[in-house]
Every structure is written in C-alpha cells, then in structure tokens.
C-alpha cells in the first residue's frame, strides 16, 4: 500500500521481434506491463503510473504518471518496434517525469524492461545509479530477451549502485519458461516490498475461479477476510482438540457415577427430543437449542467431562472430538453460559417460557419429562459442585 509514482520504461527495439517468448518478446512485455499497471493502481488508488519507450529516434513519453488505468492501457496500442534501446536516456527522462509528479508525497520508482543489449559502459551506468539513489528513486530492472555478453554484469552494477535498503530489485527472466507476466507476478516487482498487490496477482492468476473460499478477495474483501479468519480459528481449535484427545486417551478415567448420570441425562433429553416431534416442530428447534445449551452447561466443569471423553474416545474418535470441541467452546464463554444456565435452572422460569410458546401444552407428558430432566440436571449440577472434584485431574 505504498504511495508510489512509477515510470515504466519499455524496450521497443528491433530485438523485440524475436519469438523466444511467445508470441513475441514485445507482446510478452506488453502483457507484463499491462498487468503491472493494474497491480500498481489497485494496491493504492492514489498510485500513478506513466509509460515511456526507450528505442527509436528518441525516448518518447507515452503518458506522464496518471492513475487512469484506461489511458495507460490505451497508449500501449499501436506501438512500433524498431531502433535501438537507449537505456541511459530512458532512465534520465523517467527521472525527470517523476520529478514533476503532481503529488510530491509519492515515492518515485522506475521499472526498466531491458530486453536488448546495453550499449553504455559500466561506469556510466553506475553514475546514473548513484544519481537515482541520491534522489531517492527506486529502480526495478527486468532483464529478459537478448543475453549478450556483459549485459548481466552491467545491469548488476547498475542495480548495486542504485539499491538502498532493498527498495530496488533486479529480475532475470530466461526465455522458454513461463511468460514474462507470470514470472513477474511472484517477484517483489509486483508484490511491492511487503504484501500489496498479492491480492490482485492472485485474482489475475486464478482467473476468477480458484479462490480459497469461492469469494473473490477483490470483490468482497471483508467477506474473504472473515472466512479466512474463521477457517484459521477452526483449524487452531481442531488442532488443540486433537492434542487434548491424544492426552486424554492416555489418562485413566474415574468418576463412574458422574458418567452414568451424564449418560442418563443425555439419554433422557434425547428421548424427550424425539418424543416431542410431532405437534411442534419449530418450537422443537428452539427447545433443542435450549437443551443443547443446558447440556453444555453441565459440562462446564471440564475435568468431569475429561473422563467421559476418555471413555468415549475408545469407542468413537470422531464423536469424541466433536463433543470436545463443543465442550471447549462452552468452557470458553462460560460466563455467558452461566447466565444462561441460571436462567435455565430456575424451575419457574422454564415452564413460563414454554407456556408462552405457541403450540406447547404444559400438560403434555413429553414436555413434562423434558422439564423434569432439566430440573433434575440442575440439581445434579449442584451435587457435583458440592462434591470435591476428585476424578481425572
């Protein structure tokens, strides 16, 4: 998200007719430039990008730094290939264009696509590099295409003299491999010095289909972020649960009576749920939720459930893990739960609530059973709290 003004120096010399990058060096370069402009303008809406061509009769500025992506893309049309690349003049004109940028708060960056041989000698390039460094201009060099002897050295020397604090980069793209644009996408040229255009790059790469959660991070960043965060939370919780299950499996379980009590309560509540199915289906859902909550409450003393879990683990790993996860969840927000539990345990409250629900008849035997189980559970909870917890600590 760095605020930047960028000048892109395009090589449109004769050497760009070559086909070792498909369809031609020039086309591959143009694609890369288009992608780069998009990434820069996306990463910060106030970023500006300008383009100039280095070869031909003279260095020509196609557009001064602007944030209008359409203008930038349209000026890439109709470019002619010919002449020789003039690297030094190109960089100097780019520097001048950046000097006169409208927003002086933007950092200055020049991106050079060097596809043809470099005529200038190393010392001259080093002076240019020093001048750029002195004026706090970063330089990214994309070396592709013609691999003339000494070109690599010269570009490396230029890079070394310009680089201050890792803000400049040099990338070498060999022919025959991936296209220039794809090769660039993983480099710091695209992604900036930290994160940055990675969202755009991912969008471009996936072509709209392969997002992690089926949500385009560009279209709906908050949703994508929320999904990602909840995914990581769930993963972390499952890992912790798996670890605990492994620990419990090695422990001796004690506390049979409490186990049986829990078992009967589970059985009773399940029964009650099953029985109360016909007349009140939506009410049922509410009741089930209430019961589930109160069931979790009974397990809010985690040590008791530890022993139960150990037993269950031997029988059914998945069920145990699922139960553990829900228990842990309950244990986590036990404060809110305890309020709920107090409400649920109040013997007069539940009947009054149930009476107010439509379709629930307090005299219905299944409802009565349900109430009894809830109240019984609250009494047993009292008993458990009285007994000093002794099992499975």
């Amino acid at each position: 998200m760095v605020l930047e003004a960028t000048m892109i120096c395009i090589d449109n010399s004769e050497w760009m007719r070559n086909g070792d990058y498909s369809p031609s060096r020039f086309q591959a370069q143009a694609d890369a430039v288009n992608l780069l402009c998009g990434a820069k303008t996306q990463s910060n809406p106030e970023n500006t990008v300008g383009i100039l061509t280095m070869a031909g009769k003279q260095v020509r500025v196609l557009t001064t730094p602007t944030s209008d992506l359409g203008k930038i893309l349209s000026c890439m049309h109709g470019l002619e290939v010919g002449g020789e690349m003039n690297l030094s003049a190109g960089i100097q004109v780019a520097q001048l264009a950046l000097k006169h940028r409208q927003n002086k708060n933007q950092k200055q960056r020049i991106i050079v696509f060097a596809g043809s041989p470099v005529q200038y000698d190393k010392t001259m390039l080093e002076t240019i590099g020093k001048k750029l460094k002195k004026n706090n201009v970063s330089l990214d060099i994309v070396d592709f295409g013609e691999d003339e002897e000494g070109k690599l050295e010269k570009l490396d020397a230029l890079f070394a003299s310009v680089n201050s604090n890792e803000s400049s980069h040099i990338i070498h793209i060999p022919p025959g491999g991936a296209a220039i644009s794809t090769a660039l996408m993983s480099t710091p040229v695209f992604t900036g010095d930290g994160e940055g255009g990675s969202g755009f790059a991912a969008a471009a790469a996936a072509g709209g289909g392969n997002f992690d959660f089926g949500v385009d991070p560009n279209l709906d960043p908050e949703l994508a972020l929320a999904l990602r965060v909840s995914m990581e939370e769930e993963r972390a919780r499952q890992e912790a649960a798996a670890k605990r299950a492994a620990d419990e499996a090695a422990r001796e379980e004690k506390g049979e009576p409490s186990n049986s009590q829990d078992a009967t309560m589970v059985g009773k509540a399940a029964e009650a749920i099953n029985n109360a199915s016909e007349p009140m289906d939506e009410v049922n859902a509410l009741l089930q939720q209430a019961i589930a909550l109160s069931m979790e409450n009974s397990g809010s003393d985690p040590s008791v459930h530890d022993s139960e879990m150990a037993e269950a683990t031997n029988e059914d790993q998945d069920l145990a893990m699922a139960l553990q996860i829900s228990i842990q969840e309950a244990a986590k927000d036990s404060s809110s739960q305890s309020d709920m539990s107090k409400v649920l345990e109040d013997p007069s409250f539940m009947p009054s609530v149930l009476a107010s629900l439509p379709g629930v008849d307090l005299n219905d035997p299944s409802v009565k059973e349900l109430l009894a189980s809830l109240q019984g559970q609250s009494e047993s909870k009292q008993k458990k709290e009285d007994n000093p917890p002794s099992d499975g600590k």
Partner: protein
C-alpha cells in the same frame, strides 16, 4: 554572521530559547542522500541532548558529502538563528543554504535555485555557535529546506544536531483544502435568496 554565547550556559537554561524543535513536524521530516533512511529525524532533539552522540545521526552516502534536509513545522515560525553540530574528521558541513516554504526540492533544484540565505559554517562540535538569519526573511516559515553542499574534506558528511531559535506563532500556513471546480455552471448549485425562500428583497 556567528556569535558565541557570552555567558556560561549553566547559569540559565538556554534550552528555552532553542525550543522551536517542539514545533517541528517530525514525521514529515525527510532528507536526501542519507545513508540510513529515516535518520534525519534523529538530529532534532532538545538543546540539552544535543551532545548525545550515542544516538543516531544523519550521515550522507559514501563519497558524496551533499545533504538536503526538509523540515516542516506544525505552525508558522519565525527563525532567529540556527545551530548545527557536525561530525569530526572533516565530516562537518562547510556551507549551508536555506530555502523557505518550498517542498519537493531535490539536488538539481537546490543547485540551480537562489537560496534565501547562505552561510559558511565552521566546525562546531559543542553547538554553542549559532548562525543568525536575516530575520526579516524568516518571518513566517512553514517549512525550511537546508542544503549542505560540501564538507571539510571528509568522505561523508555527518550532522548530529540541528537547532532552531526563534518564536512560534500559532498561525498555520494553510493550503486551500477543498476546492470544487465547475466545468459548467449548474443552476441548482447556485440558489438565489428568493428561490431558497429567505431574506428580504428590496425593490427600489
């Protein structure tokens, strides 16, 4: 034009005179040709700490003694004099040129433009030397850019402290913040008093 303090500084607190450092907008201070980006901020400190050489200082790149420091203030100030503490071994700057209220100056601009004032500096390691300004020209300074073109022969230039003496006004030199440009006039934007239903309209 330089003057030495004609009293010993232990008697009274000189730091109150050099209090303009509080009005410097530190996050926006920038420098060109510094070896360590961001080190320019470290040279602005209270008068008492001016000799603390343990902290960072501003150093130029190897082999290039030029330095350019851009200092914006949080409100308009009047600058009476400037104190500079340089480095040892010829790394102290030898000349200082000041530009007022211009931002975005780089080295080529600085070399071509006429400075508001120029000084020949001396090696001044304890900061008691101050360089007076032509006060009339430094009356409402929102930002000052100091250009140090040369030093006393060292490989780099070092600056350990820059202090400003003067007064701060409470005024802010405001840029016009929100401007709305009209390409074509839109009558609905320009309601007359009669249309908006208020005010007396006098008919003579």
């Amino acid at each position: 034009m330089a003057c030495l303090h004609d009293h010993s500084c232990e008697d009274h607190d000189c730091s109150s005179n050099w209090s303009l450092y509080k009005h410097i907008d530190l996050p926006k201070v920038s420098a060109l040709n510094e070896a360590v980006p961001g080190s320019a901020k470290s040279v602005f400190k209270p008068w008492e700490h001016r000799l603390n050489s343990s902290e960072e200082h501003l150093e130029s790149n190897e082999g290039d003694p030029e330095l350019l420091v851009y200092i914006p203030f949080t409100s308009d100030v009047k600058i009476k004099s400037i104190a500079i503490i340089g480095g040892t071994d010829g790394t102290s700057p030898s000349k200082m040129r000041a530009f007022i209220n211009r931002d975005g100056i780089d080295f080529s601009d600085a070399q071509n433009m006429q400075a508001v004032q120029e000084w020949d500096l001396v090696e001044n390691l304890n900061g008691l030397l101050e360089f007076q300004t032509r006060y009339a020209k430094f009356q409402s300074v929102a930002s000052i850019t100091l250009h140090f073109p040369d030093n006393f022969g060292g490989d780099t230039s070092q600056i350990h402290y820059i202090g400003f003496k003067g007064e701060a006004t409470q005024l802010k030199r405001d840029v016009v913040a929100t401007i709305v440009y009209e390409l074509m006039p839109n009558p609905s934007d320009h309601k007359t008093k009669a249309e908006s239903g208020g005010g007396f309209s006098q008919v003579e």
